[in-house]
């Protein structure tokens, strides 16, 4: 599959061009991404801490998970949309950026961790839902989730510092990088 070709054509989409040329689109989209990503992390943190039995097991896990996950999913969907818009604007740059690739792998790991928990570990939830210490697999899922999502945030910030700039020097400008000694 020609990923490089797909990435180049994404960068030529109309919405990608709009993101690049509109003065206010990028700051607004990015700020929305930060807000919703923080919401994803914060809501997941509540569930993960409960999986670790922290601060207490007094409240039902199913109740905590059930009432908060709709906010997590809503925030995640907006994060994906805003992330896709930012990606499209500079698709070839992000595609080749190591921090970006690692972030995508981390998101995949988060998804696998969640799937394993939902499909396997949570089958036994009736036995530890309330006032009982969660089993090892549940605690592992919670701890792994926290580590992975913190890594996602750190990697995301690192993208900003490593993606470089897209500009060409105009033909009639001579740039002299020989700075005089101070």
């Amino acid at each position: 599959m020609d990923f490089a070709g797909i990435v180049t054509s994404v960068e030529n989409w109309g919405v990608a061009e709009w993101m690049r040329s509109s003065l206010k689109a990028m700051p607004f989209v990015e700020a929305t991404h930060v807000l919703t990503a923080a919401m994803v992390f914060g809501t997941i943190l509540i569930v993960d801490l409960r999986l670790l039995g922290f601060p207490s097991t007094r409240r039902s896990f199913k109740l905590i998970e059930g009432e908060i996950l709709k906010y997590t999913w809503a925030a995640f969907i907006v994060s994906v949309i805003t992330g896709a818009l930012m990606f499209a604007a500079n698709a070839t740059t992000y595609y080749g950026n190591t921090a970006f690739r690692l972030k995508m792998l981390a998101l995949l790991a988060a998804g696998v961790n969640m799937a394993v928990f939902e499909l396997i570990t949570s089958r036994s939830v009736a036995g530890w839902d309330k006032d009982k210490p969660p089993p090892g697999a549940a605690r592992f899922a919670g701890a792994a989730s926290i580590v992975i999502w913190v890594a996602v945030i750190f990697l995301a910030r690192w993208i900003g510092f490593t993606k470089g700039y897209n500009f060409d020097v105009p033909d009639n400008v001579e740039l002299n990088f020989e700075f005089p000694a101070q």
């Binding site: 700020a31 807000l35 990503a37 914060g42 943190l45 109740l63 945030i153 690192w158």
Partner: protein
């Protein structure tokens, strides 16, 4: 102000923060992780006021559960934020977004402290907390909007000219 920022940027501590490659990204990353902790703590309390979550618990219990995380998170954000300012003072002080953000933070913190103090006596009375009036619910939504605006302004610092045009201090 700009002269102070220019002086600050040449101090040894500022130069140290600028010159070690990973310090600013690390501080910003911690700052963003804390946005998650602080904003969701505030959101959970707000959603309880609005009757959407944890209605099986008294308001006092929900406040006690999340307020410590909110205050601790805000302290960490103040420390990381202050270090970021010391590291790049000109960038911050010449951004209108930065000054608006600081003003709103002061407003939001005062509002949150006042809210915490005002509901405390009432919540000790009933097991499941008071029914919050329409006025308090509106104030809660406004407070959430202020915190969301603060988050947007934080990102806008890097785009101050694009966002504010001629109003930017650059």
């Amino acid at each position: 102000m700009l002269e102070f920022a220019e002086w600050l940027q040449t101090t040894p501590i500022s130069v140290a923060i600028q010159s070690v490659e990973w310090i600013i990204p690390l501080l910003q990353s911690i700052h963003i992780v804390m946005i998650g902790v602080v904003f969701i703590s505030i959101l959970m309390v707000a959603l309880r006021v609005l009757g959407h979550v944890r209605t099986d618990e008294s308001f006092a219990t929900v406040w006690a559960r999340f307020a410590p995380w909110m205050w601790t998170g805000l302290v960490v954000m103040a420390l990381t934020g202050l270090t970021l300012i010391v590291g790049e003072p000109i960038r911050e002080f010449t951004a209108l977004s930065f000054w608006l953000k600081m003003t709103l933070i002061a407003v939001a913190v005062v509002t949150t402290v006042a809210f915490g103090r005002s509901i405390r006596p009432a919540t000790l009375v009933a097991a499941h907390g008071p029914e919050f009036s329409g006025g308090i619910k509106v104030a809660t939504v406004v407070t959430l909007a202020i915190w969301i605006t603060i988050i947007f302004l934080g990102r806008a610092i890097a785009y101050d000219t694009e966002v504010w045009g001629s109003l930017s201090l650059h």
